[in-house]
Symmetry: C2
Subunit: 354 residues, 2 copies
């Protein structure tokens, strides 16, 4: 009977009806305590577990959430932005804690994922994760909403996209970074990252950056905003080489993501520009690598644990029919060595390798 016992087997041995077994095992208060104990003992003995397919079919739910990661299609087979991996871990844990299974899948924005998971009762709701071109995905999100599929997405909040979004305070974070750099005496801050509606999170970070400049009475120099389509180390490296080649003077780089920042530091290192003495570098995300970079990278911490819990919690409430709202999570400046200490530039010792 290995792994095959049904509620009928238990009912037979316990001398009760199958219905009573089901009630007892689901914790119904209707069942006599002694009966319940007997049933539970037999269930344990037989290694019984409720058949999820039968249970779900009957209850018209799945007890499962689906996490859809939208990855950059250009990226290598196995590489994912570590930030999303961190989110993945947090979401997996939060989901388990709430008693839900988690399906995971990588999707291209172009595919037909939107009509699958919910209609087929594979999942009760979707979590959408990943930098993608938000303009391109709008149609799919609208269809999800039309179909009544519960979903939440991580990303820019209040950007007019359909559905519930949870994200960090990108504008506030961008402002905090630039304020910090200004405080340290940096005046020519390059912004590395796509500042367009295609990438609203980066755009918000850029807006925060510009707001801080404006508050300090400075204007933003167009020549210092470098588009970086993808958020990868390689792109950050290439973009920074381009910036150096263009000959524009700058004393700091605000990279819209840690991966871009790490690539920027590699380019600077190769060209013999010292970080932070000549050029301060700041990232965004606080991926594990940021702490290990050389020099360790100043960045903005997005708390993925809280984010994951928030995403799962909001989605489950939506599934239950409650009214849910967008939410903005604070981001916290983590100061390490890559931004310098505010002393006069050019006189610090070079950083030893980490």
């Amino acid at each position: 009977m290995k792994g095959k016992a049904t509620s009928f087997d238990i009912a037979y041995r316990a001398g009760v009806s199958q219905a009573t077994v089901s009630r007892a095992l689901r914790g119904s208060p209707l069942v006599n305590e002694e009966t319940r104990r007997r049933i539970e003992a037999i269930a344990r003995e037989l290694h019984y577990t409720v058949d999820k397919n039968a249970s779900n079919l009957r209850r018209q739910r799945s007890g499962t959430l689906a996490l859809l990661l939208f990855e950059d299609p250009t990226s290598d087979g196995s590489l994912i932005n570590p930030f999303f991996l961190s989110m993945l871990g947090a979401i997996t844990r939060a989901s388990a804690r709430q008693g839900h299974d988690l399906l995971i899948s990588f999707q291209q924005l172009s595919h037909d994922w939107h009509a699958d998971y919910h209609d087929s009762h594979k999942a009760d709701g979707l979590i959408l994760l990943g930098y993608g071109d938000y303009l391109a995905s709008r149609g799919k999100l609208e269809r999800l909403e039309e179909q009544g599929t519960p979903f939440v997405r991580w990303g820019a909040v209040d950007d007019g996209q359909p559905g519930i979004a949870i994200g960090c305070d990108n504008a506030g974070g961008g402002r905090a970074i630039t304020e910090h750099l200004l405080r340290l005496g940096r005046r020519r801050i390059a912004f590395l990252g796509d500042a367009s509606p295609h990438c609203p999170e980066f755009l918000d970070r850029y807006r925060g950056h510009c707001a801080a400049l404006a508050a300090a009475g400075q204007t933003s120099d167009q020549a210092l905003q470098i588009d970086a389509a993808d958020s990868t180390e390689e792109v950050g490296y290439t973009a920074t080489l381009g910036l150096l080649d263009a000959g524009t003077a700058f004393d700091a780089i605000f990279a819209a993501s840690d991966l871009l920042a790490i690539g920027a530091m590699r380019a600077l290192g190769e060209r013999g520009r010292r970080v932070p003495d000549e050029i301060a570098v700041v990232g965004f995300d606080d991926i594990p690598l940021a702490r290990l970079a050389s020099p360790p990278l100043t960045t903005l911490l997005q708390d993925t644990k809280i984010a994951g819990e928030m995403l799962v919690d909001t989605l489950l409430r939506q599934i239950r029919g409650e009214t849910v709202h967008n939410q903005v999570l604070p981001a916290q400046l983590v100061i390490r060595r890559s931004c310098g200490t505010g002393r006069a530039a050019e006189d610090g010792p070079p950083d030893p390798a980490a």
Copy 2:
């Protein structure tokens, strides 16, 4: 009818029986071509998808695999060894390619995961992933086998554990590393990593190391084998400080994982020991960070893409009732700067920051 159409709705509109709809949509060759086309058109129009719970219940399968990650319980909430994340990505893709959904879950070895996924028909089989104490998990694996649960695990092969294992050639990899270091003139090679049956993968790497030493007519010095219980940067850092404090002379470190190696390099850097000029460092895994470390880390590449495909493929064949076998995948030496170039030590320039 949003997301609620059933095969009966389609049958009604198509003027056929529900059974024919089911056949047509499952691609049965019994159905008339014209009938099939009509049914498919209506299904599309109604946004119909087969209810997985009903289908699975009837077919007594789930079309789902479960990936269980056994994490180091001491690790931080969201951190996972990047190597396993890379495996996770590869497994997710391979699983999708084979038309299976993937459930993901983090498990403590102590929990009762073994009796859950298969019995409840949540998954047709399990993939087990993660450094864990293999001696401690033996009982669970035995029970899985007893229950007839199909499962494969990534790890040491032929270590006498129950079930099918797929892993890389740890002994061969360890030998390759040490041979390379010897070729470069290193003579006192410290091995960083738990060399005990609790951690058979590391043990195999150590054995390969010792085999290479023996082949070169050297004996392994016990003082140069440092246990490192967990595979984390922090542990590598601490262990290396300990090694330095012990005063044992050494000119190379063979770390059993990249994370350990990166921690080792940090410790060496802090103590002013130059890598690779004074001390060569080599890791194992080729995580993305290895390439970005400073200096870039020489390591052994485990091809996670192939590994993921192999795991999924083997598990599916096992589920289908085929006989499957353990498999060893080759590991490939990736030479970067951390091991030096074989020129005399002490005369190289210090490495610029990456």
